[in-house]
Amino acid sequence: MIDWKDKREFWIAGARVADPESGRLRAGSVCVQKGIITEVAWQRVTGTELPVLEADGYVLAPGFVDIHTHLREPGNEEKETIKTGTAAAVAGGYTSIVCMANTDPVIDKPSVVEFILRETERSGSCRVFVTAALTRGLEGEIINEYGFLKEAGAIALSDDGNYVTNSQVMRSALEYARFLDLPVISHCEDPFLSGGTHMNEGYSSTRLGMRGSPAAAEEIAVARDIRLSQLTGSRLHIAHISTAGSVDLVKRAKKSSIPVTAEVTPHHLTMEDTLLESYDTSLKTNPPLRGRKDIDALCAGLGDGTIDCIATDHAPHNVIDKEVEFDLAPPGMIGLETAFALLNTRLVQTGTIELIDLIRLLTSNPARVLGLPGGRIVKGEKADLALLDPEAKWVVEAGNLRSKSRNTPLVGTELTGRVEGVFLEGKWINVVP
């Protein structure tokens, strides 16, 4: 147990410091004073009068930034609350998260934005940024008062969970959002093609006797929104892309300088649709887990910069909702507490990507996508940091999860890479019990 509480001015020394922007990951020291990074030295600090926190063997990274979290509050506090969701975030190394708008009531009024920010102030363990709904009630028909929502604190707009099927509404939303400089996050799914489906369409769906959603259901939607982004010149961020075809569409859009960015979830990078033979409802997600060639394309997309960042789509559901027949279960899995360890285990340890790349995909890149602060270790930034042990092994146990929900297929799985704790504005929060 590390006890660094109450220290307000100190050096952290001995750790390998990760600076995603320069790509450096090597021994260094970081000075924190009153919550601000006041110095970064690429050597071990000597001769200081400030206390030195010895962090040998660890990696000191910027605090992670999750731009796709479902906090469920208000309305579904039995699944997650701002308190438990932010605690889960901290346990996963996150110091900033962006919550989605599909709460009850929907975040389509300034008062709901204000409620979330106030509640975060009261009970949250990390920073929370708010995505407001693109259309009233997420119904895809009437665009919301983006001006008022922005004034209340919203930093992005999304109907996540629903696709805005009416192209004219989406065009208006993008145009209107542009003048307020708010990025639009699109959940790309043609609901006519995906309606009534429970998994990816392919050999596994045929074998398991379930209706599958074809990759085209996502790709058609991605293609339309890219065209609308081109038409309007508005910033478009594509949530949780999951197919090889979507990666290709985004790659070509970027080549044409269309202002599009994309995220991918940890589960879409590491879990194949063949796993569904267990009919384990914690593996039911939307978009569904895809096939091997999609996973390979997603990994390649991370490597070549087509995909900008990794976002969890942390989607808590309680046992009563998930402990049912597969076709009756709601989609979604929690991810905040396991994202780093899962990706470190399955992508870094296997040589698919480097540790510094993973850190970049969890920090500076997502921050840049939505224009958020943080994600960097440079002088003058707020000291939001994560202390990682990339070699530590641990087993995911349901009872140790901070999230109010347990819907992850990783329970019982051994992962490599642990978050020891985070500094939130220089204040140490211990994670490992």
Binding site: G202, T206, G209, M210, Y279, V324, E325, D327
Partner: protein, 316 residues
Amino acid sequence: MQFNRKHLITLEELTADEIGLILDTAGSFKEVLERPIKKVPALRGTTICNLFYEPSTRTRLSFELAEKRLSADTINFSKATSSVTKGESLRDTAENIEAMKVDIVVMRHGSSGAHKFLSQYLDVSIVNAGDGQHAHPTQALLDMLTLKQRWGTLEGKRVTIIGDIMHSRVARSNIWGLTKMGAEVTVCGPPTMMPPEVENLGVGGIKVEYDLRKAVEGADALNILRVQLERQKNRLFPSMQEYCEIFGVTDEALDAAPLECIVMHPGPMNRGVEISQEVADGDRSVILEQVTNGVAVRMAVLFLIAGGKIDESELQ
């Protein structure tokens, strides 16, 4: 050979030897069914619950009869008259039934994977009487018994399954069972009812044929699936009339089949839709034989699941 499975959920997970054992055991029980007194004491003291979440005539009656022929105690559950209508979950329902000290649960359920899901929570044996679009192992076993009794073997025989393959648990179970036993399977139906990569199902894969005439040519047996009229709202084909014309099995369509080719149907039939009146009642039809075999196959499955070994003395 000993049958060591606790559950029967799919044929995909069984070996050819295990399927062979079920069919042989069913053959012995079929003889029992020909006797004046059609009852054996094999499962005396065993309690079986028939848990039917979906409507069924043949499968339900067939299981119940098989249980009675084996002298088991049976209780029945149907969704419409149960606490499911009050919102009780599948897990709770099944655990309550188990708490009444039932030995085997025979279940039909509309959700694919429902049996696999329940098997995590129950200690009792689970026999699948149909789950969603996934599997219907006893139907495939009775189809295979019917074919085996006709030919003596399934090895190298050609079976064509016609109709809505996508939504059919009967098709999936037949594909796994037949290919494991060395038969060749062809599926035929409109492309909108053909699931992706269906050709890779089964051991060594199967053939897909959209032309009914070609699918029937050289077939030793046809297994004609019911057109699920309730699915027509999805518009998987333009009209009943066109379906009948292109995929309906009539005497004329059977002209392309060898003389010895037999015709099966898992029921319930839509006469005049997927199968004509003449074919359903014709010389090639073994549809009622299938129903008789259904009882024998279910006796065999329950007997083996309950841990029985075939011993001629038990059949007395």
